[in-house]
C-alpha cells in the first residue's frame, strides 16, 4: 500500500457543499471527520460557526469556501466572506478564482482578487480554485502562477460544481507549475481510493471529496490484494474524456477533444467504457 490508511485520511478535506445540507448532515460530517481524523471539514460559510463549535479542540480544521461556486462575486465580497468566516471559526479558506478575468487575460484583476482574500484571511491557509474544466492548460498554468504570486498557500483543481473534476493530468501540471513548496488540492469527482492514490501520485497534497469515508474504508481492501491497483484504461482518467460541449466554452471543449486525435492511447479509445 503506497500510504497508510491513516495517512490517507489525513490528506482529506471531508466535504459537504450541497445547497440542501441540513445541520444534521454537518454534525454527521464533523463526527466522521473526528472519527477518521480527516484534515478538515469543507463547508459553506453558513455552517462554519456550528462546525467550529463541534470541532473545537480537535486537530480537524474548518475549511470554508468563498465566492463559491462561480468565483464571480466582487473581491470585496470575497474578502468580507473570508473575514467573517474566519471570525466565526474557519481556519482554512477555499476561494474560487475569477475565471472570466483569467480567460480575459486580465491578470491584475485575478491577482488582486486573490490578494484581497489572502489579506482578509490574516495568515490562515488560502486555497485558490481554478475550475480547470473551464480552462485550457496555458490558462491553468497562469492561474497557478498568479495564485502563488498573490500569496495563496494552495492551488485547487475544481469546485465539484463545474464541468470537470480533478484529473491526474491537471494535478501534474499544477504541481509542475507551482513547485514543491506550494500545496496542490485535488477536488471534484474523487470517489474511490484508486482515484485518491492516482492524484496523490500526480502531486496532490490535499484531497477534497464528499466520499472520504468510502475512500478510507475502501482502501482497507487494498491490504488484501494488489489487484485493486492494476492500471485502468488510460482514457478513464483523461480530462478529455470528461469534456462536455454542454458545460464548457466551445473552444475549451474542442481543445480537449483535439488532444484525443494525437494521443498515444488513441487506439484504445474505441468505445465509451
Amino acid at each position: 500500500m503506497p500510504v497508510t490508511v491513516e495517512a490517507l485520511a489525513k490528506l482529506i478535506d471531508h466535504t459537504r457543499l450541497k445547497p440542501e445540507t441540513k445541520r444534521a448532515k454537518i454534525q454527521e460530517l464533523c463526527e466522521e471527520a473526528l472519527a477518521y481524523e480527516f484534515a478538515s471539514v469543507c463547508i459553506n460559510p453558513v455552517h462554519v460557526e456550528y462546525a467550529a463549535e463541534l470541532l473545537k479542540g480537535s486537530s480537524v480544521d474548518v475549511c470554508c469556501v468563498v465566492g463559491f461556486p462561480l468565483g464571480a462575486t466582487m473581491s470585496e465580497v470575497k474578502a468580507f466572506e473570508t473575514k467573517e468566516s474566519i471570525r466565526k471559526g474557519a481556519t482554512e479558506v477555499d476561494m474560487v478564482i475569477n475565471v472570466g478575468a483569467l480567460r480575459d487575460e486580465n491578470y491584475d484583476l485575478v491577482r488582486s482578487d486573490i490578494e484581497a482574500v489572502v489579506e482578509a484571511a490574516d495568515g490562515k491557509i488560502v486555497k485558490v480554485i481554478l475550475e480547470t474544466g473551464l480552462l485550457i492548460d496555458d490558462q491553468k498554468r497562469k492561474g497557478c502562477i498568479l495564485s502563488k504570486e498573490a500569496g495563496a498557500h494552495f492551488v485547487k483543481t475544481s469546485t465539484g460544481f463545474g464541468p470537470m473534476g480533478a484529473t491526474p493530468d491537471d494535478v501534474r501540471l499544477m504541481r509542475k507549475t507551482v513547485g514543491s513548496k506550494m500545496g496542490v488540492k485535488a477536488a471534484g469527482g474523487i470517489r474511490s481510493f484508486k482515484d485518491a492514490l492516482r492524484l496523490i501520485d500526480a502531486g496532490a497534497t490535499r484531497l477534497g471529496t464528499s466520499s472520504g469515508v468510502a475512500i478510507v474504508e475502501g482502501y482497507r481492501w487494498a491490504g488484501y490484494s494488489d489487484a485493486w491497483l492494476e492500471p485502468d484504461k488510460p482514457c478513464w482518467t483523461c480530462p478529455s474524456r470528461q469534456a462536455s460541449l454542454g458545460k464548457q466554452p466551445k473552444e475549451v471543449y474542442l481543445w480537449y477533444k483535439e488532444r484525443c486525435v494525437t494521443c498515444p492511447h488513441r487506439e484504445q479509445n474505441i468505445f465509451n467504457d
Binding site: 470517489r191 474504508e217 482497507r220 494488489d226 492494476e230 485502468d232
Partner: protein, 596 residues
C-alpha cells in the same frame, strides 16, 4: 486458535435426526470444527464431506441435509438471520450450499442448535417440530401435496404461530431437481435442488421455535462494532439507497446498459424492453411494500402485487430468468410467475434458464413444443407441469444440462457444473467469468460477486475487460464469501463492510480472537474442502469451464465484440489457490489449511 466453551457458539449443539428411525440426538459442536469452519456453510460442508461419499446418490436416504446457522445468527449483527442448507446436489452432483433469508435461522439458534443434520428417509411424509429441546416427528398427512403458503399456514396452525417454517412445495415432493426449500412463504433456498433432497426424505417441512437467549461474549465490544458497521451501511449508496428503494431489480437497467443482461438464452446481452422489466418500473407499477429479513437494516425484499395477488419478490435474478432470458417483457406476468414458483417451491433462476434453453431448442428446430421467445401463452401451466413432473415439464425439471443433452444440443445449456448461470453475461466481466467457472457449486454469482468491483465500483472500480489481477480478486471474494456464509451474514454487507469488520463482529460475539487474515484463511479452508469433495465425486479441471457460447463475441450492446478469456486467468487462479495444473490442491496447501 483453540476454542473453549467460553467462546460463545462453541458450546452450541448439533441436532442429528434420523427420519428412518424417527430418532434424534444431540451432539457437541467440536471446538476444532468451530475454529476451522465456524458454522453455517463451513460447518455444513464439513459434516457433508465426512458423511456423504461418492457412492451415495443425492436423492438416496443416505445423503445428508444440513440446516446450519452461524456464530452471529440471532445476535444484533446486521443481517444475521440467514440459514445455510448444505447437501450433495441432485442437479449438479457437487457439494452444495443454498442460502436463505427470512426468520428461520434465529429460531434454530434460540432453540439451542448450530445445525440440524437430517439423515434417512421417513416411511411416509412427515414434518419435524423442534420446540426448544423437544423434537417431534409428525405426520404430514393433509399437508403433503399442498403448496408452500397453505403448507406453512397448516404447519403453524398445528404447532405454534410464533414458530418459523422451512418447507417444500409440490416441486420438492416430486423430487424435481429445480426444487427449492422455502421460508416465510417466499424466501427461497433456491438453487441446486435442495428441495428435492428434502422431498426424497419424505420431509415436508421443519418448524422450529426457540426461546433461549443468545448471549454474546463481549456486549460492549459488539455494540461498538455494530455502531460502526451500521454507519457503514448507512453511508454506502448501494445499501442505503439503491437496494432499499428498488431492491435487487435495480440491476436490470444497469446490466442492460453494460450489455450484460442475458437475453434469449444468452444469445444477446441487451434486451430492448429492459426498462419495462426494470426495478424502476417495478416500483412504479407493482410495488406494495418493502420486506426486511431478520435484523436487516437494508430491506431489499419486495412485496408486489400482480393480477390482484400479493407476494414476495420478484428479485433481479427472477425478473431476468422469467423475463429477458425468455424474451418476455410483461412485468406483471413475470411477477405472477414468480409467485407461482414460490408456491410450487421452484428455483426461478434454473427454471427460467431451462425454459430459455428450451425456447432456443425450438428456435433452432431441435425441439417441437409450443414454446417461443417472448410468448407467455401456456407458460404458467408449463411451470405447474415442471413442479408436478408432468410431460414436457418433467423433462424440463431435470435442468437445462440434461434437457439439452436429451435433444442433442448440450451446447445450448448455459450452465457450469450443471447449475444454470444467473443474470450476468460473463463476456463483459472477465473476473465474473472466472468466478462462474471456478465455483464449487456450479454457475453461481454469489461465490465471488465480481460485479461489485467490475460494474458497481464497490469497493473500487476495476477494468472489467482486464484479465490481469482478476484471479487474485476472485480468490479473495471466494474466501470471504465462504467465511461470510459461515457466520452467517448476508452477501450485501460486502458493499459496506471491510474484511476486518466481519472478523471484529465474530471476535466480539464469540470471544474468539481473530483478524481479517485468519477469517480469510477459514474461508480458504472451506473452499478447499468443497473442492476436495467435488474431486472425490469425479469432477476435474475440465469442469472449471464455461459454455462454448462465451467464446463467441456478443453481437451488439455494451459488451459487444467481447468473449470470456478464461484461459488467461485459470492458470493464475490455480497457482494462487496452491493447486497443481490439474486443479488438485497440493499437499503443502492442504497441510497449511489443516486438511491433510
Amino acid at each position: 486458535m483453540t476454542a473453549t466453551n467460553q467462546h460463545l457458539f462453541a458450546d452450541t449443539k448439533l441436532l442429528k435426526v434420523s427420519l428412518t428411525s424417527q430418532t434424534s440426538k444431540e451432539l457437541p459442536l467440536s471446538s476444532t470444527d468451530f475454529t476451522h469452519f465456524l458454522g453455517g456453510r463451513g460447518l455444513g460442508v464439513k459434516l457433508v464431506y465426512d458423511a456423504v461419499t461418492p457412492e451415495i446418490a443425492p436423492l438416496s436416504s443416505d445423503n445428508l441435509l444440513v440446516f446450519a446457522i452461524g456464530p452471529l445468527t440471532a445476535t444484533i449483527a446486521p443481517t444475521a438471520g440467514r440459514t445455510a442448507i448444505i447437501t450433495k446436489s441432485p442437479l449438479t452432483g457437487t457439494i452444495f450450499d443454498s442460502n436463505v433469508g427470512g426468520y428461520f435461522g434465529p429460531q434454530l439458534r434460540r432453540a439451542g442448535y448450530a445445525a440440524l443434520i437430517i439423515e434417512g428417509r421417513a416411511s411416509s411424509p412427515v414434518y419435524l417440530w423442534i420446540n426448544d429441546g423437544k423434537i417431534e416427528f409428525r405426520s404430514a398427512k393433509g399437508i403433503w401435496g399442498k403448496e408452500v403458503s397453505p403448507s406453512t399456514d397448516l404447519i403453524l396452525e398445528k404447532t405454534d404461530s410464533k414458530a418459523q417454517v422451512a418447507c417444500i412445495g409440490p416441486a420438492g415432493e416430486n423430487q424435481v431437481k429445480l426444487a427449492a426449500i422455502m421460508t416465510d412463504k417466499h424466501r427461497a433456498a433456491g438453487r441446486g435442488g435442495v428441495g428435492a433432497v428434502m422431498g426424497s426424505k419424505n420431509l415436508k417441512g421443519v418448524v422450529v421455535k426457540g426461546t433461549q437467549k443468545v448471549a454474546v461474549a463481549n456486549t460492549e465490544q459488539l455494540d461498538k462494532v455494530i455502531t460502526r458497521v451500521r454507519r457503514l451501511i448507512k453511508k454506502d449508496s448501494i445499501t442505503n439507497k439503491s437496494l432499499p428503494v428498488y431492491g435487487t431489480p435495480v440491476l436490470v437497467n444497469l446490466a442492460n446498459e453494460y450489455g450484460l443482461l442475458p437475453t434469449h438464452n444468452f444469445q444477446e446481452g441487451t434486451f430492448n424492453d429492459a426498462e419495462g422489466v426494470s426495478g424502476e418500473k417495478l416500483l412504479e407499477r407493482l410495488f406494495v411494500k418493502r420486506y426486511h429479513c431478520f435484523g436487516c437494516p437494508i430491506g431489499c425484499g419486495r412485496i408486489s402485487r400482480a393480477y390482484d395477488e400479493e407476494g414476495g419478490g420478484p428479485e433481479y435474478e427472477t425478473l431476468w430468468a422469467l423475463g429477458p432470458q425468455c424474451g418476455i417483457n410483461d412485468l406483471e406476468w413475470i411477477a405472477a410467475a414468480n409467485f407461482r414458483c414460490n408456491e410450487l417451491g421452484l428455483d426461478t433462476i434454473s427454471l427460467g434458464s431451462t425454459l430459455g434453453c428450451a425456447m432456443e431448442l425450438v428456435q433452432k428446430g431441435k425441439l417441437k413444443a409450443p414454446l417461443k421467445f417472448g410468448e407467455t401463452e401456456g407458460l404458467m401451466e408449463l411451470i405447474d407441469d415442471v413442479a408436478l413432473s408432468h410431460g414436457l415439464g418433467a423433462e424440463l425439471g431435470e435442468g437445462s444440462k440434461a434437457f439439452s443433452t436429451r435433444y442433442n444440443a448440450p451446447e445450448l445449456s448455459m450452465n457450469v457444473k450443471g447449475l444454470e448461470l444467473p443474470a450476468y453475461d460473463p463476456r463483459g466481466v472477465q473476473g465474473h467469468a472466472l468466478s462462474y467457472a471456478t465455483s464449487n457449486r456450479g454457475g453461481c454469482h454469489l461465490r465471488a460477486y465480481l460485479i461489485g468491483p467490475e460494474i458497481l465500483g464497490s469497493p473500487v472500480l476495476v477494468d472489467r475487460d482486464r484479465t490481469e489481477g482478476k484471479a487474485g480478486l476472485v480468490v479473495l471474494f471466494q474466501n470471504l464469501s465462504a467465511a461470510m456464509d459461515s457466520l452467517v451474514l448476508c452477501r450485501f454487507t460486502t458493499f459496506a463492510f471491510t474484511v476486518e469488520d466481519y472478523a471484529d463482529l465474530l471476535a466480539a460475539a464469540t470471544g474468539l480472537p481473530i483478524g481479517g487474515q485468519e477469517l480469510l484463511r477459514i474461508g480458504e479452508r472451506i473452499w478447499n474442502l468443497e473442492r476436495l469433495f467435488n474431486l472425490r465425486e469425479g469432477f476435474s479441471s475440465k469442469d472449471d469451464s464455461l459454455p462454448p457460447r462465451f467464446s463467441t463475441p456478443l453481437p451488439e450492446g455494451g459488451s459487444r465484440n467481447r468473449i470470456a478469456h478464461l484461459d488467461e486467468m485459470l492458470p493464475e487462479y490455480y497457482q494462487l489457490r496452491g493447486w497443481d495444473k490439474k486443479g488438485q490442491p497440493t499437499q503443502t496447501r492442504l497441510k497449511k489449511l489443516n486438511l491433510a
